[in-house]
């Protein structure tokens, strides 16, 4: 029947061809993305090897000068280690909390809908706006956290933590780093939880039923069946939030702008400050490129894990 129609009407035949329709359906999106990401990406590499600035539009090849300059820059080294440290430390906490929360939210309990609404807010709210809430919580003078600590005797003249009335969260080197990591954990945990929940709910029920028939208790089912089964998805959740965090500067931009000194400056923010605010496009691009091999390795690792998970 179809071939008869094809002889009569070639256009109709084309519209029925899986391959042809597939190509014209996929091509626009693919081209748009490749153009919009591929072109700037190549340009970023070109910038990294040139002396382009905001004022001077000419691209002169300068070899590895930018990369050498960036690497010899002491601030950048600190910035690089900040980025890696913040990302790694926050992932540990995110993974712990996300596992607990995913187990909680795959069970039935009273008030689940409301609890889920609350716990997802940090992820649902635009980051820059949620960070404003924390900016106020960590305020130098009016911090509600400091007030609580003051009332409970941790702060104040005879305080255990400090003699002053305030901790100066975002002005103290160690505390500012802790604050930034805390806010990142706070806002990324729901995302990891949702990914893990998807993993937990995709475990075939017959496996769990069998475990129950065999008399497996809650903890045993959890540790010996559920966790091993969602391990690949856990790796995906982990890599996903690592990559998101690595490529984000919003939290530090709103909270500290990199201060005090350079204690909370991370690569994304520094390359913004040098490249856009300072006008040195070439060095800004070179900085961003420094992180790329790491990101690529993470992404490939993630894909391999994902494809293994599917084969299972």
């Amino acid at each position: 029947m179809a071939s008869g129609a094809a002889v009569l009407n070639p256009r109709r035949y084309l519209m029925d061809d899986r391959r042809f329709v597939g190509v014209i359906f996929l091509a626009p999106a693919l081209l748009y993305i490749l153009l919009l990401v591929g072109l700037p990406f190549l340009l970023a590499i070109a910038f990294g090897f040139s002396d382009v600035t905001v004022g001077n539009t000419e691209l002169n090849f300068v070899g590895f000068d930018n990369f050498v300059a960036v690497w010899e820059n002491d601030i950048f080294r600190q910035v690089f280690s900040n980025t890696v440290m913040f990302t790694l430390i926050s992932q540990v906490f995110i993974l712990i909390f996300a596992n607990i929360l995913a187990i909680i939210f795959t069970q039935e309990f009273t008030g689940k809908w409301f609890a889920r609404f609350i716990f997802i807010l940090p992820w649902a709210t635009p980051v820059s706006l949620a960070a404003i809430g924390w900016l106020w919580m960590f305020d130098t003078k009016y911090s509600p956290i400091d007030y609580l600590l003051l009332q409970t005797g941790f702060l104040g003249p005879k305080g255990i933590l400090s003699n002053s009335r305030n901790l100066f969260w975002l002005a103290n080197p160690a505390l500012s780093q802790i604050s930034v990591i805390f806010v990142q954990v706070w806002r990324m945990t729901p995302l990891a939880t949702v990914i893990l929940m998807a993993g937990l709910s995709s475990i075939p029920t017959d496996i769990l039923d069998q475990a129950e028939v065999d008399g497996s208790r809650f903890m045993r089912t959890l540790l010996q069946i559920k966790l091993p089964l969602i391990l690949p998805i856990m790796v995906i959740a982990l890599l996903f939030s690592m990559i998101t965090m690595f490529g984000d500067m919003t939290v530090v931009y709103v909270l500290t702008r990199g201060g005090p000194v350079d204690y909370t400056r991370i690569i994304g923010l520094y390359s913004f400050q040098i490249g856009i605010e300072g006008g040195n496009l070439a060095q800004g691009a070179a900085m961003a490129l420094f992180a790329f091999p790491l990101l690529l390795a993470l992404a490939l690792l993630m894909l391999r894990t994902a494809s293994r998970a599917e084969v299972r």
């Binding site: 029925d16 899986r18 329709v21 597939g22 190509v23 359906f25 996929l26 999106a29 693919l30 748009y32 993305i33 990401v37 591929g38 072109l39 700037p40 990406f41 970023a44 910038f47 909390f97 607990i100 909680i104 008030g111 609890a115 889920r116 609404f117 609350i118 997802i120 807010l121 940090p122 649902a124 709210t125 635009p126 820059s128 706006l129 404003i132 809430g133 924390w134 106020w136 919580m137 003078k141 009016y142 509600p144 706070w186 949702v194 929940m197 998807a198 709910s201 990559i243 690595f246 490529g247 919003t250 994304g268 390359s271 913004f272 856009i276 691009a285 992180a291 992404a299 894909l303 994902a306």
Partner: protein, 317 residues
């Protein structure tokens, strides 16, 4: 207004009271249903650590939002002089909320965000709907590879791209124009939506399309008339998440738009409502909260379908 004042002045007692009432009602309900026996009591005791953990997590998640709500209505004197951040010593006021809408560019930010969001959603749907269908049904191996490529592209972070993009935007004369954001945002919304939609399309039984093909529709018609209407819930949740992704985006919006009245919410609120070192805390906190709550609702409403779409895309891939 009187109600608002009363709620604000008794915020914590109301919170504790309403929670205690709910817990009490729940226990009373169980007692009536199962009898106030010893076994029932020990069941409740065994469950309580679980609820305690939930409560602690909820408290941490909600803390800044509660403070935002509580502090948006304080008069300056109450907020700054010998602070007692958790109670109202002077009457709450709506003055800061009014000034947010009348004296600042907040309404402009909202309008800009909505314009950019809607335009991006339209472009994303036009590009992602057919592409996701192609990945789900039409293309075999090479489509799978294209899908993986898209996924990799999604992982290239904006921090790497914003400098060259800034140069391109300036060259095209699009700086300070919402068009710059409208053109650039699909670079991350399209891969995201494709991945999501692909899952929903796979959930449509192939028999229905085959029936349509037998009835004389061609592939394109079968897609438009059969698959699209059947995946409408999935498409709506894709629209919601695409829109919120544009609301969240920060770096491009910060770099491309520097004119106050052209800025979008995510950048406008934290940069323009703070003048140098002078913070107008009440309007600032209110501005953040007003956006946070509706977006939070939308996420919760569509979360299940998000999870479903992603697992569909992954499991049957």
């Amino acid at each position: 207004m009187a109600l608002l004042i009363w709620i604000l002045q008794n915020f914590w007692s109301l919170l504790v009271l309403s929670f205690a009432t709910l817990v009490g009602l729940r226990i009373a309900y169980r007692f009536r249903k199962y009898g106030a026996t010893r076994a029932e009591l020990s069941h409740i005791l065994r469950r309580s650590p679980f609820y305690l953990v939930v409560l602690i997590f909820c408290f941490f998640a909600a803390a800044p939002f509660m403070i935002m709500f509580l502090h948006s209505f304080k008069v300056d004197g109450d907020l700054y002089r010998r602070p007692q951040p958790f109670v109202y010593r002077q009457d709450p006021t709506l003055e800061h909320l009014e000034s947010l809408f009348t004296n600042t560019a907040y309404l402009d930010f909202i309008r800009n965000s909505v314009v950019v969001g809607i335009a991006v959603v339209i472009i994303t749907l036009i590009l992602a709907l057919p592409a996701a269908y192609a990945l789900a049904r039409l293309t075999g191996r090479w489509g799978e590879r294209a899908g993986i490529l898209m996924f990799l592209v999604y992982l290239v972070p904006p921090t790497l791209l914003f400098i060259p993009m800034f140069r391109i935007v300036v060259m095209l004369g699009l700086k300070d124009s919402p068009l710059a954001l409208i053109v650039v945002y699909p670079s991350f919304t399209v891969p995201f939506s494709m991945w999501l939609l692909q899952g929903f399309f796979k959930a449509v039984p192939p028999e229905l399309e085959e029936a349509a093909l037998v009835d004389g529709f061609n592939r394109v018609e079968a897609f438009l008339r059969v698959v699209l209407p059947l995946s409408l819930p999935g498409i709506i949740s894709t629209i919601v998440f695409t829109f919120t992704l544009t609301l969240h985006e920060f770096i491009y919006a910060l770099v491309f738009i520097t004119n106050t009245s052209r800025r979008t919410l995510s950048v406008g609120v934290p940069t323009e409502l703070i003048l140098g070192d002078v913070y107008f805390w009440q309007p600032l906190l209110a501005a953040a909260l007003i956006i946070a709550i509706p977006v939070g609702f939308a996420y919760n409403l569509f979360l299940d379908s998000l999870v479903q779409g992603f697992t569909m895309g992954a499991v049957k891939g």
